[in-house]
Subunit: 286 residues, 6 copies
């Protein structure tokens, strides 16, 4: 991107962040007024802060701290990282929007910021990933361990994750070291993007943009899940899945068959359509 | 129920609670005597309290608190809710009995009260649900988030759950917003009662009385699992399952076939018979 | 083993422990120097301690404590148990080596000691198991409960686990009361070794030496998984699996067929080969 | 007091409490609005509570708790005691008013409620005293110990203290077992009301109504400080002091001399006049 | 002492410790039974421990810990020190007996062990002192700082303190680096044994055996307070005080006069007679 | 000061801070190497930080936090205040130097930074004072309350304190609202700079540069202690003290007499000479 466009993009990102932060504060203020028992929580996590990055750093620092990794240390680490890298802030904004748009159970942006373990684990991972690529690996791995303990979400700090990603429910998600997740992907709980053995090297799945991966799906090895593909809940996938097709079952099969798989045109990672393929799935008859 | 019967029922519920609480105290006293290292824990959680509701409120408050949601606040919230709603106390009693009867690894009522994350998550959910239907949604969702973090059990506060329910092991259970779970149901760990997409509305499973759902089963959409049905471990269920039948596999099939499925007469949610269908499951041959 | 050999074996175990501890301290020292933000953590967990058992007891005590089970009490319990039983220390050493050899994402022994929830849960389980066989059951169960809450790893204290065992990622693992796991086994996350109903007695799987169990596999009942067998990810296994064969799918089938299953000669629990069977698995075609 | 008057008095006390609580909430609301960084603190301590007794119980529970005496336990103890004894609540109200009237540094009632260690120590003492006279001595002494650790204010739980008492600054105050303090007394920091040796029995000072005791004064033995007397800062008093006289110095002398001591007519415990006697104190010449 | 006698003395010290520990456990058991709300505290601090040194180490570790000095670290430090040095244990026993004999407000040994900040500060000081003479000065000073923060008792780790010492109330006590305190001394709160300026060297008081120092007394410089001397409350002492005499006032004078001071024969540090000198103190007339 | 000089002065202050910070890190590194048990503490408080202001903010945040005022909030407040006001940093540097020069028990700058409650209370007060003059009074008072609880040092946030001030031992110090303390003053523990009654207005002492105030001295009212004056331990001062004179006793008298008091030429606040006046103090004869 030319420098001019980059600046413009950054400035519009900053505006988007401002707008979102104003929404979040308004929501929190409304909730604090209607529910005094929660007001202390809302003030400490949101309303006392001057920016999204401060609120998020505070919340993550207090969630992920332990008796041997103090909240002040983590707060400092998060705040320094978010403050110095606008792309992390932009990703957080895109992720918040993704949750808000795709999960009908999400009642507000502040609800997601405070309560969605998938969102929080992902933002903490983005910081761990930054530490990893700065070769601060022991710190990245310590943070990884805290995320795995606290949220039961286990994303290796080397894994690369795009923007606008929704980890819904998120408990039990495992993402391996060389996995890559594209933009606008939605991943349900208990999903594994795993490796294939004890050899090192590039050994984890590559998830294209707009993919939807159902609950409990297991994808193993350096396989490619094409753009806009859909992986059914509970599927076990060991080889590539073409773009805009649907793989289901254990072992996974393409809906419509290997030769002429059914194609869908939308972006399932955004539409979140988990089950429309049923009528086409000939084996699925109780 | 006529008012007279209701009073009688409440009084017998109160008696049941008294009896159970006396059992729990006797168990805890015996354990404190035999194991001084645990006595402090048993006194603080059970023996220093004058009622089951106080003990449970104390235990949940200390389990679910965080640096931004203090134990005193949660204790107060739990105690006020349990004290003012006898149906919540009766449900807790029924759940304790269910665990004790159905799980051979459960050695005592106090063992369940203190240590079963499924039991504790369910009681905390019942409080969150009560807040939800009182339109105290931000507080309900904050509580929901704590339960999901601490127990890795993610039950939306709007979900309705009957009495005598066993969440065995419980880690990884996900229950969506419009799900309904009947009485005397048993649900193993990693079970998902999930939705079908990003549209709101009634979109989660309805689980009939006496159903047994095996570990890792995934049930998606507004489907009906009939009374006394049995869902095999690891099954993926996307359409209705008739009463007293068994669905297994991914994709799930009825044991005995769609046309003339085998019927069992007992209440599998109570008998906890996970595997008797094997001999009938023709595909199941290693 | 004759007494002389036993002493020799113990002495070589002690040497192995010394060597490993020296490695761990060297790694931690190097990391503390390169990353001051982590140095406090590394000193408190490793570098301030004089032995592996002290470091491990400190770390587990601080990880597993709660407001009602204090870190000092747990530290004392762990230290006394590890100090008085060299077989527990030898098992910890074997487990550390297993992680280091088998998991390419494991960058150092100290990384495993500090951050691998599977390793930590397993060592805490070994202590709980020792308490169980000493008939200190309430304490064993309280510890079990803390492990299940903190690591989302639920291993019944009565379950017997061999040496050189790797629980990779570990979130969601459930191991029942009468399960037995052999030596050099590798078990991925979300694996269930479950029971079959509400009757007591011997009702959980027996896993032979060198077995590899893929992510999300569910094995139910008192079935025998033969030495060196391999269970594919997401499989549901309800009957015995012969040694050195591979079972995959839901319901699980033997690769190569029931009559003449393919046999592999290596120890998959050590080679961690998850996917080489694909070409042989005729059904696996997307 | 006849029952009718008692009820009337209680009812007007309840009104006074209501009025004060409304003031405190208004102050806290104003402060929360002007200072978001403090709003979380103000909501958790004051604004989320429905009564002064709940706010005070919460605040004391969180201030005085330790890792072995949990905040929930103390909160429960304080709340039960304040709820069941209106005289304790009336004393707290009188003490709050006393601080507000007598200490020019006190900017508001909420300031006193939250921040005055003398006020907080005194209210916690009133609860410990109630436990003492109920023969719950070990608990009273444990509470006494926490007050002495946290506030550096050491009042034996058997000591009797009137209403409208101001402990200003309070650090270092020591009040012995058989001491009695009247109404409307003001006591500065480092004041000792001590005993005389190792014999038991009635051995501590009796402080009349309206007395003012300056900073660092030491009064030892079962001596009587008459109503409205004034004890100068740093004085050491070992024998009785007549009403409305002033004792100063080490050893203490009566201002005006033993035979014809100067008399003042006001209530120095309320006027807080520490130094007007200087001109009369012939020895006092630098 | 010849080796044989030393062994005998150690064995009788061990017996005294055993006897005292049995008393303490019996007291705590009685209190736990009569007061369930305190039982958890009593079990965690006393009844779950197998020896006085373990109980004391646990209690001090939990009292003195902070977010940057963990309880497990302090517990380990205290336990190792008390276990390896029987003279520290003997001193603790002597101090417990001293409190019990001399303070009429002390209702039991367990009361002193748990609640007397002077006793606890002194035992923690003994450990800090041991570290100091082992040249582990930074650790000794860190411990000193925690004692000063938590108990408001500030004893320099280099100061030497005898056995059977009572620090009564203890708040505000300051003891300087080169101070020495003999056996069977009793020191009230706010007592200062201070230095004389900014030069180093031997510059603090030397307190003989059996001395009694009243509340708020200030003794400055390398002065000698002779055996069995008595220092009145609030006195300021800057020069030597002969054995078995009484110094009172600011500036301090000998009772009876400098030339022929009154002599008392008893050991005031044990008799705790604070005030019998009044009749002799001619100046003392209000 | 002209702008150019101001910049120069600031730059040399910054250099002094750099130099001191380098000293502190070197000391901490040396101590961490010699004492592994303390290394975690030294890394978290000093060695992991990039500047004195970060280290101090971290340390104060962790010392002063409570369950209702989180460490992250306080850390943020301290860091923002120290970062934006170089005069606060310069004062901290001057205070550290003052301790190091004047207190022979101070073994290093890091010892003071970590362990001197007087130093820490004073720096926290400087932040509270800044909040006070910015009209953020409720926050200033909440901080004041935490300082008084944690350090037993009670300095009203409105009090003005110069640079190079030593609060030695510090427990029990009370400084009132309108008190002013000059530069290079040394104040021992239990010193009171108190008011005179319940009227507001300017009512507390004004302490000139270079003054030394001994332990337990009480100075009351709007009196002026002249430059370089010395107040003896335990003195009670109610009227002005001329510059470079010494006041001792209760009631205080000038050494040498009121008419021709002895004059000393040095700066006692720096020389810390507590007792050289004894020979001149005619009354001082035991």
């Amino acid at each position: 991107m030319p420098a001019g466009e980059l600046r413009q993009s950054e400035s519009s990102e900053a505006e988007a962040e401002q707008w979102l932060w104003a929404q979040i504060k308004a929501e929190a203020r409304r909730d604090a007024e209607s529910e005094p028992a929660l007001a202390s929580y809302l003030y400490s996590t949101i309303l006392s802060h001057s920016s999204l990055e401060r609120s998020l750093s505070f919340h993550l620092g207090n969630k992920l701290c332990s008796s041997t990794l103090l909240s002040t240390l983590l707060y400092d680490l998060f705040l320094n990282t978010f403050s110095s890298d606008s792309s992390l802030r932009a990703a957080a904004v895109a992720d918040l929007r993704a949750v808000h748009e795709r999960d009908p159970a999400c009642v507000s942006f502040s609800h997601c910021l405070l309560n969605y373990k998938g969102f929080l684990a992902c933002q903490a991972h983005r910081v761990a990933h930054k530490l990893w690529i700065q070769s601060r690996r022991p710190l990245a791995l310590a943070l990884h361990s805290r995320i795995a303990d606290v949220f039961a979400v286990d994303i290796h700090p080397a894994a690369r994750i795009g923007k606008g990603v929704l980890f819904d429910h998120a408990t039990g998600v495992v993402v391996g070291e060389t996995a890559v997740i594209g933009n606008n992907v939605s991943i349900l709980h208990h999903v594994t993007l795993g490796g294939t053995g004890k050899a090192g090297g590039d050994r984890h799945p590559k998830i294209g943009d707009g993919v939807l991966i159902g609950a409990g799906a297991t994808i193993l090895g350096n396989v490619k899940i094409g753009e806009g593909a859909k992986i059914g809940a509970g599927s076990v996938v060991l080889i590539d899945v073409p773009a805009r097709t649907t793989a289901v079952g254990n072992p996974a099969r393409l809906v419509g068959g290997k030769e002429k798989p059914s194609k869908h045109e939308d972006v399932p990672g955004e539409s979140m359509d988990h089950t429309s393929f049923i009528s086409e799935w000939s084996d699925y008859i109780i």
